[in-house]
């Protein structure tokens, strides 16, 4: 999972995302704290943008974990609620659960926290489209104008 997912995605690698745990339909990734990812230098708290990337990556990974065969997927939408301020100098862990997969769409819920799942800093829900025509190849599906879905 580490090499196939995190290592293959340049931006996940740039954020040093690390696999914490996984099981069918579930994935947990950690975003290590780093000074260059801080959003407000007065509080030292990580920027919401890198939390968005962490949650998007974890939710997408949970979808991949739920599929019987490797498929290309794309995020349709992702909602993130910041329920509590994040703390400085602490890594953020995201737990994602892909709770339903239909033929073309996967549904995911996620929460981000500092290690205590009962006290999340963000909760999230997202939907993903699942491409079922890998035989035609990624490039053919993408179309000439860069459409992803």
């Amino acid at each position: 999972m580490e090499g196939r997912y995190v290592g293959a995605v340049p931006h996940n690698q740039a954020l040093n995302l690390r696999v914490v745990d996984y099981s069918p339909e579930h994935l947990s990734l950690a975003l290590p704290y780093r000074e260059d990812l801080v959003g407000n230098p007065e509080t030292g708290v990580l920027h919401g943008g890198c939390i968005t990337s962490l949650i998007d990556a974890t939710c997408g990974g949970a979808v991949i974990m739920s599929l019987a065969a490797p498929r290309r997927i794309a995020t349709l939408d992702l909602r993130i609620d910041y329920v509590r301020p994040a703390l400085p100098h602490q890594e953020v862990i995201c737990d994602a659960h892909c709770y339903k997969v239909t033929r073309h769409v996967a549904f995911v819920r996620a929460a981000a926290h500092h290690g205590d799942k009962a006290s999340p800093i963000a909760t999230s829900s997202g939907t993903f489209v699942v491409f079922r025509d890998e035989g035609r190849g990624d490039e053919g599906r993408r179309g000439e104008d860069g459409e992803s879905a």
């Binding site: 920027h47 998007d56 990556a57 301020p85």
Partner: protein
């Protein structure tokens, strides 16, 4: 320069470089803003580490969310009455089409700019503003909790 001083400097000069310099994550992401015809336009300069899918290739969806959240905050700071940094209450990102490995721009609209809360719609695009790669709806808290 502190973020507070940077915000004041931007209000005086209209040059967002000071804010980008004051926010480490903005530097890491190559996210900045500029005034175009009086409106705040966000920009994320392309860099290889922003890619999400190297085989397509396409930018990571999270980076588009980051640009749109940042652009909304830049515009709120530009128009706001205080130097308090708006806090994101929530953000919903809809992905419409893949973003090519090139610069991305973003434009924000205030759906409602209240005293406590701002409702903001943001559009991220590459060459054509009428064909956004992603759109976001976000709420920001403008007062200290």
């Amino acid at each position: 320069m502190s973020l507070r001083d940077a915000v004041t400097a931007v209000r005086e000069t209209g040059d967002f470089t000071a804010i980008q310099e004051a926010i480490p994550y903005s530097r890491f992401m190559g996210i900045t803003a500029e005034l175009v015809d009086g409106d705040v336009i966000g920009r994320m300069r392309y860099s290889d580490h922003l890619v999400g899918n190297a085989s397509v290739p396409a930018l990571h969806g999270g980076t588009l969310g980051a640009l749109m959240e940042s652009t909304a905050i830049f515009k709120l700071l530009w128009h706001g009455e205080t130097t308090t940094v708006p806090k994101t209450i929530n953000i919903t990102v809809e992905y419409l089409r893949g973003a090519r490995p090139e610069d991305v721009f973003a434009r924000a609209e205030f759906t409602r700019h209240g005293r406590r809360v701002a409702n903001v719609r943001v559009f991220a695009y590459q060459d054509d503003p009428e064909r956004p790669a992603a759109v976001a709806t976000a709420h920001f808290l403008l007062v200290q909790e």
